[in-house]
């Protein structure tokens, strides 16, 4: 399978995402100005500081030409993963519910956190080992997940909250410890932690790999079907 990783001006973790994806498939970079997804099977909107995070995180990137294609792709059911800044961009683009607000500490925080998989069996979590926490780094200034109360209840009822910070591990004040949510269709997923930085025993944990494996398995099933 082929992953496409979007590169905006100011993206920082796109090569890391490419390296992580390359462990489970092929991975190409998608230039922000191109309206071409190069026939990829899944899209990753990576971390970093697209457009310097200026004005409001993700606000400018969502208008990049490539994002029109990504939105199309998502509407057609394609798998889209947004990591950190990518999550923020997808929220701004309306492809994911809610918004990300400044951390309650108002600071950038790097921390290796533990996550609980709240929904297993989804296209993005099916390969996660059941009942086990994931140890994955977070690093951001604006990661406090927010949605109005009724929306939060709906997200939980429909199983759109896929990852939560384990008790005591919420680094940013996210409501209900939400670390990652999907869209209603379940094919777009955004999370603040960085699974691409947890794929190599030399640089930390390998717990993030299961997110990319889940995507690979989902794509494989779809092709088989």
């Amino acid at each position: 399978m082929k992953f496409g990783i979007v590169r905006f001006p100011g993206s920082c973790d796109e090569v890391d995402a490419q390296l992580a994806c390359a462990r489970v498939g092929e991975a190409v970079i998608l230039w922000h100005g191109d309206r071409d997804l190069q026939g990829v099977d899944a899209v990753v909107v990576p971390g970093g500081f697209s457009y310097g995070d200026y004005l409001r995180v993700g606000a400018i990137a969502r208008f990049a030409p490539v994002m029109g294609e990504v939105a199309e792709f998502a509407r057609a059911g394609g798998l889209v993963l947004g990591i950190c800044n990518g999550f923020q961009v997808l929220c701004e683009a309306g492809l994911l519910p809610g918004a990300l607000l400044p951390n309650t500490s108002l600071r950038f925080i790097f921390r290796q956190v533990e996550l609980e998989v709240a929904e297993s069996g989804t296209p993005f979590t099916r390969a996660c080992p059941p009942g086990r926490r994931l140890s994955i780094p977070t690093k951001h200034t604006t990661g406090r997940f927010y949605a109005p109360e009724p929306e939060l209840r709906r997200l939980e009822a429909t199983g759109q909250v896929l990852l939560r910070y384990a008790p005591g591990h919420n680094p940013n004040g996210s409501l209900r410890d939400i670390a990652g949510v999907s869209n209603e269709g379940g094919n777009v997923f955004g999370l603040m932690p960085h699974p691409e930085h947890a794929v190599d025993p030399l640089t930390g944990s390998t717990d993030g790999l299961s997110i990319f494996e889940s995507i690979r398995d989902t794509v494989a099933d779809r092709v088989a079907a």
Binding site: L55, R56, A59, A99
Partner: protein
């Protein structure tokens, strides 16, 4: 026209920046300050002010989390700030 867009966190959403200011003031000897909120100010020259609300909705603010207000900058005021 020179315009200002004043952007504020929506009421009811936790505003840690406002809180931080509110906490810091008494320590500096400023009492009697309440309900502090911190938002964003965007100042710009626009040829067509009628398009400002659309600009606000699409780019300058996120309506899920922010309220905004558009204020015209009077010629005199512009001078004093620029």
């Amino acid at each position: 026209m020179r315009a200002r867009v004043l952007v504020k966190p929506k009421a009811g959403i936790l505003d840690p920046q406002g809180q931080a200011v509110e906490r810091a003031l008494p320590a500096l000897g400023f009492s009697g300050v309440r309900n502090v909120h911190v938002g964003r100010l965007v100042e710009l020259d626009v040829d067509d002010p009628e398009r400002l609300p659309e600009m606000c909705e699409r780019l300058l603010t996120n309506p899920l989390i922010e309220d905004y207000e558009i204020v015209e900058v009077a010629a005199a005021a512009t001078g004093s700030v620029a």
